[in-house]
Amino acid sequence: MDQFFNLSVIANNFTYFMVGRFPDGPLGGLGLTLYLAVTACILSFFGGLILGLLSLSRRRLIRYPTLAFINLLRSMPLLMVIFWMYFLLPAFLGKVPETQTVIIALTLFTSAYMSRIVAAGVEGVPRGQTEAALSTGLSHAQTMLYVVLPQGLRNMIPSFVNQFVSLIKDTSLAFIVGVSELTHVGTQINNRDMAYPTEIFVFVALVYFLLCFAFTSLSRWLEHRLSWRKAV
């Protein structure tokens, strides 16, 4: 141990931490982390919307199986979902690249949590709105689409942003199937040098922190702003 905190290991590998071997090879590091998080976030927004609306269905035949599926996913660790996908997807789809396996697992997992946010948001819209819309002659689907969802979705925004923060943190689990996102890059460099684990993991943690903290602050600000508007 020549120096207590040796930052040269970070400086020497900085590009590798940020984008992996990008211009010459596949995207990695922080870039891949963001790619995974953003893709899974967009997909699970729709997944969560569908599951959330199905879980509010008035038909028991739809509602109960959906709730069972959501609760099954919510009671499993994400790692288990990733292993399931890693194991099941090839059986149905043939060879699936690891990155896509992880995106599918993250999407399924996050959709289950998003669906609870959607359900809470929809239920948070006063009943009078639905009744009024129905009595003006809108169908149930139209009521949901034009009256309830636009109001409900606005209240869900802060929770969605929080869920995105969880998603950024969850992408670190892609490490387990060898997807070279930020955490994986950290372990790779650690395995190669074997001398600066403290520096490497403190740096990796700081990068995640800056990213997540920015979004946590955004969500807090949005919550404040939206509640202020509601009061007027």
């Binding site: 141990m1 207590f4 609760n71 099954l72 919510r74 009671s75 499993m76 660790p77 994400l78 790692l79 288990m80 292993f83 399931w84 194991f87 059986a91 149905f92 923060v165 950024i168 943190k169 969850d170 992408t171 670190s172 689990l173 490490f175 387990i176 955490t183 950290g186 372990t187 650690n190 684990p197 403290t198 520096e199 490497i200 993991f201 403190v202 990796v204 943690a205 995640y208 922190f209 997540c212 903290f213 946590t216």
Partner: protein, 235 residues
């Protein structure tokens, strides 16, 4: 998929069954140890966060923000690979004796969960209207007495369900300990899969255990809400 031949005997008896059972025990052990410590640490941090002294409050704030906004996996790696430099020698020796993997995982889980628990406790206390404190003070209670007899008894009731839920999160999060070689449930399921190629059976068994843990906890929360909190609901 059609070519797959199910063989449930792999997980119902024999060595692989024993692996899974030992995995369940390690998962529960890790979760119970971590929940106890993270409650204590979380309580301390929550008190610091609400204290009137600036440095305490700032420290607690930084602690909460930092550990809630970094992935648990990175924290586990930090404690496992990177902590020997920052810890005193005798602590390292002791950790090597008790099994460094388990200790590192328990420390990471404790610190991560304590940040969430601290917020649960804080929001429980903050949910008690200010007037309660003012009324208690004007009735002649000291600040501590008001806390002890008026605020906390109400706050604890509200805080219990989220705390029980944190145990569920902890049980799920403990699966990440497999990455540093703690032989908990997910690790063993993976192990059984690679030894027998019976992934479906192994993962099903592990999933069922996680679902049972979660059902039990949901049940406990529901019973608690009905039996203890019904006073609030009946209006």
């Amino acid at each position: 998929m059609l070519a797959y031949r199910f063989d449930w005997s792999v997980i119902t008896s024999g060595a692989y069954h024993d692996w899974l059972v030992s995995g369940v025990i390690v998962t529960l052990k890790l979760s119970v140890v971590s929940i106890v410590f993270s409650f204590l640490v979380g309580l301390l941090i929550a008190v610091m966060r609400m204290s009137h002294s600036g440095p305490f409050r700032w420290f607690a704030h930084a602690y909460l923000e930092f550990f809630r906004n970094t992935p648990l996996l990175v924290q586990i790696f930090f404690w496992y690979f990177g902590s020997y430099k920052v810890l005193p020698m005798f602590v390292n020796d002791w950790l090597n004796e008790v099994g460094f993997e388990f200790a590192a995982a328990a420390v990471a889980l404790t610190i991560y969960t304590s940040a969430f628990i601290a917020e649960d406790i804080r929001s429980g206390v903050l949910s008690i209207p200010k007037e309660q404190m003012e009324a208690a003070r004007s009735a002649g209670f000291s600040y501590l007495q008001a806390m002890r007899f008026v605020i906390l008894p109400q706050a604890v009731r509200i805080t219990v369900p989220p705390l029980i839920n944190q145990f569920l999160n902890l049980a799920k999060n403990s699966s990440l300990a497999m990455t540093i070689g703690v032989m908990e449930l997910t690790y063993q399921a993976r192990q059984v899969e690679s030894y027998t190629f019976k992934g479906f059976e192994a993962f099903s068994a592990a999933t069922v255990v996680y679902v049972v843990i979660s059902l039990v906890i949901t049940l406990v929360v529901n019973v608690y809400n009905n039996k203890v909190l019904n006073i609030h609901r009946a209006r």
